[in-house]
Amino acid sequence: MGIKRRAFLIGGAAVVGGGIFALHWMNGSAATKAGKMTAKAGESSFTGWIKIAADDTITLYSPHIDFGQGSHTALAQMLADELDADWAKMRTEAAPAEMAFANSALGKGFILGAKTVPAILTPTVNAAFGAIARYMELQITGGSSAIRATGQAGFRVIGAATREALVATAAKRLGVPETELTTTNSVVTHAKSGKSLRYGELAAEASERSLSTTPTLKTAKDFKYIGKSPDRFDIPAKVDGSAKYGIDFTMPEMRVATIMAAPIRGGKLESVDPAPAMAIKGVEKVVKLDNAVAVIAKGYWAASQGLAALSPKFSDGGNTGMSTASIFAEHDKLRKSGKPENEAGNGDVKLGFATKGAKLLTADFKVPFLHQAMMEPFALTAHYKDGKLDIWGASQSPLGAKMVAAQAAGLSGDDVTFHPMIMGGGFGRRAPQYSEVTGQVAQLAKQLPYPVKLIWSREEDVRQGAYRPQCSAALKAALGADGKIVAWQCDYAQVADAGGEAKLPYDIPNVALNHFTYQTNQTDGFWRSVNSTQHGFYTETFMDELAQAVGVDPLAFRLKHLPKGSRYTRVLEEVAKRSGWGTPLPAGVGRGIALVESFGTIAAEVIEASVREDGSPKVLRAFAVVDCGTTVNPKNAEAQIQGGLIMGLSSAIGEAITVEGGAVVQSNFSDYPILKMEGSPTSIDVHFIESGAPMGGIGEPGTPPATPALINALFAVTGKRHRTLPLAA
């Protein structure tokens, strides 16, 4: 980890809160403060992040929200292993939205505070914190970071250090050497004397000790919980209707609001006559915001009827010329200019393309804006009383949401409390910097004498998105006489922040990756696996075209460009084996393969597909082989890969946000179709390679290979190459 990255971490924290909020657990004051927020009487806090109760219940406070990716259960597995805890008494709760519980506080305990990191974790800390430092500043759930960073470098170490403190306390109390003590199921045992002490009996005294930051960690052979699949904590409440999401929150006197922002992004509210809304029974107030109008009513129905009755006038921000076509035209213009904003690569492509006898291939790719379409629309409740603002609901960063609310309402962060609730999906949409709803509800509550729940309609959700950007790329490659790629150039146009996610896994002597930046009037956000979606599509579709050009099997062609015996080849060879690559298929069925590395995880997928009578694709079986180093909860990891793969297919087949006259055209699931059960694969075989490599993420890497694998399968059936998404366009 270089100096530059450290500086970045400090800078990040400073921007957010005007100071550094590192929690050095060897220096007790911050930990004590954090512990006071969570530990009640009879409970003892360790580092602020976990507490042990007298009845042996162990509670872990997660800075990440569990929106179904299973991190709350998996983090508990990691903690329980190092702590030798009794699984039946493990709990996970969302950490309070306070600075002491920011991800960075956990990370900085090592990166900035402690000078040493347990040796076993050095590669993890370097890999995880290096690649995802930008997610560590706040309580962000994103970047597939919970397990590989927070779990590996945080809770495993806290668990081991706490176990050591419990053992030391027991040794003192029993008057025996620590080496004669063993721990299991939350009990310290002295075999010689037959005496034992429960963690709950030791916790209060043990919590007074200063904890080691370099405790001895277990190795994989001693794991009891990591690698197993205990049931997720959150599932029972999700099958009987009792789980309370942000949208389900209620309190006495609460009103319900709904809102409409300027349909053309960048526009402002010019005027609105509230009378038509006020005429509707149940409507109490029409509130004007800078770029939106909200209707406050007794319930959602009245609020939405009221909003529909209004004829607000919005300005257009000078953006009426913006359209899907104009964006692609600007991309092309930029590429023609030949002046990229950022350049990356290796070797000398000019030289590569000049190779004598080389075969040149070019291909142009286009992908649309994509919407996350989380199932629970934005819904936050806010109550402003006596100078304090309370907010209830879901966010991918409760701490970030608190800051956004404070700024919007003109309050200090200390006067805002964000109460995190479970969320109905996120996929990047609930990142606080794009969640305008937070600022909106804070502003509404500030001027209302009662609590207000602001619910976005699905139409608002679709039209006011923070989309995966509309992107395009022109690819060019030269194939040498040996059938190998000698030069590769990718001129890609999109907004800034392409990041390292455009990684090319193949050994190619001359590569140029040229980034042309263009900003539209739409908000560009994070969409599951972020830039890896479009780059995976470009690269893996083009690789197939190149294989075809030299008449080589697409799998063999990829293997030819990868280091022998590498993690890449192992993943590819395994997925080929499991999918029966090269074996005959029924008539009209084709197979496609793709390989994408993202978030530290390597994933290869094979899709079998055919074409329906109407020409649309029909996905049949799917196969995924994934190397994320180590899986903590394989059953849950399988679900993440399956879900990610389906989301990738859904986007390829039918999803597109288009822009006309500066405004989004689509409005609901009727014109933004999400793949349903009938359209999803008949089976998805998922296999993990437990390579022991530094842990990668699991929430996102299943998505990127799905699209190119489908496109390549369709080519195998039809001989037609699709380079513009979605297929339905």
Binding site: F67, G68, Q69, S229, D231, R232, D234, I235, P236, A237, K238, V239, D240, G241, A243, K244, Y245, I247, D248, T250, V256, K281, G282, G299, Y300, W301, A302, S304, M374, M375, E376, P377, I422, M423, G424, G425, F427, I455, S457, R458, N636, A639, Q642, G643, G644, L645, M647, S650, N668, F669, S670, I674, L675, K676, M677, E678, S680, T682, S683, I684
Partner: protein, 152 residues
């Protein structure tokens, strides 16, 4: 004007606009929040309930149309006293939900299917299960339905 209907076996009276979707009567007037709002146009199925035993998307049925009818929601799918239905148990055993937001609707749709057709084929399951799940839990929904069939 108060509208009477039966919800989860009890007769209730809701004083609201008869044109209001049943969904909002369930969620806001009766506090049965297991039934979710997803799209408001009957496209996603998150609001699925049973009306007189038939599957219905409660965002697209007015309260007036539900008058005098018998409505069942996810909260009443179990056999009471905290006992879950076989279908719900299968949902836990297969670890189906991710974010979980659509799952009440998915389970209600699956329950309606099995009530009508205790032995559906894969194609019939696909045909009946048209609710959207953005997390992509479809493979496990299929497994849970099949598991509930074999447990019945």
């Amino acid at each position: 004007m108060a509208i009477e209907l039966s919800v989860n076996g009890k007769v209730v009276s809701v004083d609201a606009d008869p044109a209001m979707p049943l969904l909002w009567a369930l969620r806001e007037d009766l506090q049965l929040t297991g039934t979710k709002f997803g799209c408001g146009i009957g496209a996603c199925g998150a609001c699925s309930v049973h009306i007189n035993g038939e599957i219905a998307r409660s965002c697209s049925v007015t309260l007036g149309d539900a008058a005098g009818k018998s409505v069942a929601t996810i909260e009443a799918l179990g056999s009471g006293e905290g006992q879950l239905s076989k279908l719900q148990q299968a949902w836990i055993a297969e670890q189906v939900p991710q974010c979980g937001y659509c799952q009440s609707g998915q389970i209600m749709a699956a329950a309606a299917l099995l009530n009508k057709n205790p032995n559906p084929t894969d194609a019939q399951i696909d045909e009946a299960m048209t609710n959207i799940c953005r997390c992509g839990t479809y493979p496990r929904i299929r497994s849970a339905i099949r598991a509930a069939l074999s447990a019945a």
